[in-house]
Symmetry: C2
Subunit: 404 residues, 2 copies
């Protein structure tokens, strides 16, 4: 019933967006300022990085959404506004600019920044760009998605429609983030809009539950960013009966939300810095949900396995190794491992021991761009999926000299 549609964050009723180049980034082809505005105040829920070093915009956003409502999102790329003495002042200044140019109260603005840490962010280019940014507000989800990109190679937006209490609702999102990705309660930056009617409390509950299975199971490089922010705004304009307790509609809403967040996880992992392959580790048969998550994430995080996948080398010992130090409770003698892709599958380990397999077939399986690492723990009934990417020369290149 969840159906992909076009429109990104503008697909749900009541949202407009735009993105422009205002001059924070030197490269004039790259947009660096995005704005999403809602027709009316929306129920809002956010999750942020667990990093103790938090970007100044997060501190300001936390205050602004404390009452459960927000009406706009302003985001810049090219500078994270983090570890700067005047960071909070600048972030507040961005909210004030939104009020000045749109009439939406500064206290109803979600603000976010992404880019280099520890370099001063000037308000001037943002102020200079506001006229153009606001003039272009409309069905421009794509421009907004482009404006929040840093080392991303593709823009990331998606939208779905789904029925809720007899009404058709829509949910859409844009996001960015390809390095410093190991979200813990949130990813780099992701903004979700929906026209479903749902109370702030239920929206918060849905988001918290969702990230455990979606964004917190994603890792590009094990580096939890300082600026991770995931924000969802619900306008309620779809006309469904407001969700105020965990009923069937709540479940339907969560399912749609999950469709958005897992699709975005796959986008983010596939576009991981330098990545040539999307890796998906599916763990089944774990003793508990926690064990399943620990196991899946440990495999996805192994530099050695990531490099082997880049080299299309079925070095399954590295999967076993990563499972062994994952912290998950497991019985090594029960573990089965297979690699799968569009080109087929190959079982490489059973009962914790290697099995004969064709290196030729394995090479073919691993030559694809999407690889599933199938781990059967055969020790329980819980499962989890984690997403990541391979480790390549280009990851090193991109991060060897990011600031210049």
């Amino acid at each position: 019933m969840v159906k992909e549609i076009s429109g990104g964050v503008c697909a749900p009723k009541g949202f407009k967006a735009n993105g422009v180049h205002c001059g924070i980034r030197k490269n004039k082809i790259k947009k660096d300022l995005a704005l999403i505005v809602a027709e009316k105040r929306c129920a809002v829920a956010c999750v942020y990085t667990t990093n103790l070093v938090k970007g100044a915009p997060i501190l300001v956003t936390q205050k602004n959404v404390a009452d459960g409502y927000a009406q706009a999102v302003i985001v810049n790329s090219g500078n994270a506004n983090t570890c700067n003495a005047d960071g909070v002042e600048i972030a507040k200044g961005m909210c004030a600019l939104v009020e000045q140019y749109t009439g939406i109260a500064a206290g109803d603005v979600v603000v976010a920044s992404t880019g280099v840490i520890g370099q001063k962010l000037s308000l001037q280019p943002i102020a200079d760009g506001m006229t153009e940014l606001c003039a272009g507000l409309g069905e421009n989800s794509t421009a907004a998605a482009e404006a929040i990109m840093t080392t991303d190679t593709v823009k990331k937006e998606i939208s779905f429609s789904f029925p809720l209490g007899g009404k058709e609702c829509r949910i859409g999102a844009i996001c960015k983030g390809v390095g410093m990705i190991c979200p813990n309660m949130a990813t780099m930056l992701m903004f979700v809009t929906t026209d479903a009617a749902i109370s702030p409390d239920m929206l918060k509950r849905a988001l918290r539950a969702d990230v455990k299975e979606s964004l917190n199971m994603l890792s590009v490089d094990r580096d939890t960013s300082t600026n991770d922010t995931l924000c969802i705004m619900a306008s309620g304009l779809a006309g469904n009966e407001e969700i105020t307790y965990p009923n069937a509609d709540y479940k339907a809403f969560c399912k749609a939300l999950r469709a958005v967040t897992t699709a975005m996880c796959r986008c983010l992992a596939r576009d991981g810095e330098g990545a040539t392959k999307l890796l998906e580790c599916k763990v089944s048969g774990a003793k508990s949900k926690k064990d399943a998550r620990l196991a899946a994430k440990s495999v996805i995080n192994s530099n050695l396995l990531k490099a082997a996948m880049f080299g299309q080398d079925a070095n399954w010992g590295r999967v076993l190794c990563a499972l062994g130090y994952s912290g998950a409770k497991l019985d090594v003698t029960k573990i089965g491992v297979a690699f799968r892709s569009k080109a087929g599958g190959v079982t490489v380990c059973e009962n914790g021991m290697g099995v004969e397999f064709s290196e030729e077939v394995a090479k073919k399986v691993l030559s694809e761009q999407e690889i599933v690492i199938d781990v059967q723990l055969n020790d329980g009934r819980y499962g989890a999926t984690a997403w990541g990417c391979d480790l390549t020369y280009d990851y090193v290149k991109i991060n060897g000299d990011y600031r210049t």
Copy 2:
């Protein structure tokens, strides 16, 4: 008083060693079988990997050293003898071969293997190599050090002399390991000999205390190996009064042991797979020892910082980021960061905020092969040091196709 001397594991009285090529590895230039034998049974202490997937040799060694004594070490490279159905049988076979060729009881043999996981290890080449291996037993620590190398580019051996209760004692070591390095109670493979007289209990105590500050603070790639083994044998032939309780001699012994293990940590990190730089993160001013260790290790483990160091880019925001997600209790607004090397030093962050610095000077500092990342938490009196290396194209290359 601890003085570097030559001789490696043969520097202490009562030890002979050798290393040969027996045919486990295809490349005939590479030695692949090492043996260390002691004149008499030695007090022994070992620490092993915490990985739940454990190499078969570890299971056999644990049994053999359970009584606190051992007299020989046999090690092969080229195959980890891990995740093989007949692994324990093969490891026992290696001990039996030592008994057959040297007369040392199989139950007094420490056995270790290193190389690819999940490929069958045949006893045949080892049996074939025993005659040559034993015939050459002597002051051949270097040959043994060479025979345990895998992707190591340099052999790793060291020895020191130190006074103990009026007697001159010696301690020496060989070790290997440049990838799958994030020891947890042990590193890949390290064998230490000493002629100091010390009881098995005190030797175990000294080793357990030592690794917390030495090998457990080393990380090349965050991948805790399945075969980590650190073994120390004490022959007692130096003639000092046996250490049986934690007296001044015990402290002097621990100091000498620390000299060996930290020197080896630096060797291992410097030769990390693909590494061009040794990174040393020195944390001071932490609230507790645990916080200091967590902070130092988190910095050393950050792929993003490792890549920045490779690129000689003073991207200190990545240091702050890694500290923030380290799990250490810290006050972000008190943190100071400086980079130091032979070429000088540069302070890049104070009170959690960036400070003006010369990019030119920073580049010069970071162009050296040994970089100290100096982190002052200014929040307590505890410190810790962690060792690691940069992340380079060659790490990816080496691990993209390790098995072939």
